[in-house]
């Protein structure tokens, strides 16, 4: 059987991350071809609904690429998306989806190499996680708060079960 190849949906902001991805291409940098890029005007435009829709529709991971703090073309879009993704990852963790599947990265227009590196890292990580599924702790009531508490598949005495 061939190795599992994760599918990634990448929402890239027009001004930074998308330009960075273009630069990676024009520089002929090698990186895994697992992502479907979707260019958005600002990372702040990415709604949690889109991320979840991508996961539901068969993506194993979602990458959101935005400008570095302070560089947002629309001043504060990347700050909003950072807070959104922070909350979304908490909710996903409680639902039994590894929060690592949703990744937010700052990639500037000059950072082609960084984009290639992020893609490599993300694909590696998703290969380790495997295809998306819902794993919930058996019987344990997921506490609120920190992601690692809620994400308790490896908790002693419990065994993850598939939904």
């Amino acid at each position: 059987m061939s190795e599992f190849e994760p599918r990634i949906v990448a929402f890239l902001c027009r001004w930074c991350a998308s330009a960075g991805a273009d630069l990676a291409g024009t520089n002929r940098l090698q990186y895994p071809p697992n992502a479907v890029p979707i260019r958005v005007n600002c990372s702040g435009r990415v709604e949690p609904q889109w991320v979840v829709e991508a996961l539901k529709s068969g993506a194993d991971g979602v990458l959101i690429g935005g400008c570095h703090p302070g560089d947002c073309h629309y001043v504060a879009g990347n700050y909003k998306t950072r807070r959104r993704i922070y909350l979304l990852r908490k909710v996903l963790a409680e639902m039994g989806i590894e929060p690592e599947r949703v990744r937010l990265e700052w990639i500037s227009a000059t950072e082609g190499a960084r984009f290639a590196q992020v893609m490599q890292e993300f694909v590696q990580e998703l290969k380790k996680l495997g295809p998306i599924g819902v794993v919930r702790d058996k019987g344990g009531v997921t506490g609120g708060g920190k992601e690692n508490q809620a994400w308790s598949v490896d908790m002693p005495g419990t065994k993850g079960v598939e939904a």
Binding site: G58, P69, K80, R84, A163
Partner: protein
Amino acid sequence: MTSPDYRLNSLSPVTRHSSPLKIAVYWTGSCGGCDVSFLELGPALLEVLSKVEIVFWPALADAKRKDLENLPPRSIDVTLVNGVIRTTENEEMVEILREKSRFLGAYGSCAHLGGVPALANQTNGVVEFVFGPGYRPSPPPGGEAEDAPPSLLPQALPLEEVVPVDFVVPGCPPPAPLIAQFFERAISGEIEPGQVFAKDKALCEECPRIREERKLTRIVRPHEVQPDPEKCLLDQGIICLGPVTRGGCEAACPKAGMPCTGCLGPTPKAGDPALAMISALASLVRAGEEGEAAFPEEDRILDGLVDPIGTLYKYAFAKYGLSLKKLARRREEVRA
């Protein structure tokens, strides 16, 4: 899903005026609050009762499953089901009711969206782990096999996952104005297929609280503060689901100083209430000047939301929360 044939209008005018509306009310996995909620109509209840004939309502009148089974198909005009579908018996009963009813509606949050009992879906092993030792689906001593308690389903389901649903009377329990509106429509035979007896506009539209410049500098739980009686609860850091929830209850909870928890279900525009609310909350949170230096403090504020699923999906987890089954189903739709 619904043929126009289900409409009450299809009754001949003679039947419609000469015989009362035949109704059935059934509870599945519910607390019983929905059955009691009809009393909220007050004196109007007497008027309603004079115009309806109760065919089947286990909470009120004695009738057994076999009585229901003996009814001819589509002989009940309107059936209201309250409660989540939790056991195999629930499933069987609503299937019988569907067959016997012209119109079948979800009454209350549990039947509509899964409700509070569906928060149990957060853990998959709930059947074995919690009920395994004590809950044994076997007949009681000396009983017949058919007396055995029904098996629990692996997940609690909203009504629409089991049978086609014609209309929804939402709420936990449905507020009196919406119940009255439902009976008005039902008695005059004007229920639209797919109708939801609540407003499409958000609850905030009917909330008298004053919204100011919106910045959240903290998130608190309702018991931790004495809220200002005039100001918007969300502005005070209390998570109120008003912006993503249907109106229709006349903002009963916010008026009483409690945040909206979303019982009327999300507005059509909001879709998944938790995700829509995440968007809204994240946009409002501020820890001083926005920027990298504020990130840790912003995260600390957001951590104030201690139970994201129980708060944001309080009633809608069964319908909107992700499960492997839903992931698989959606993927097949995408491939098709």
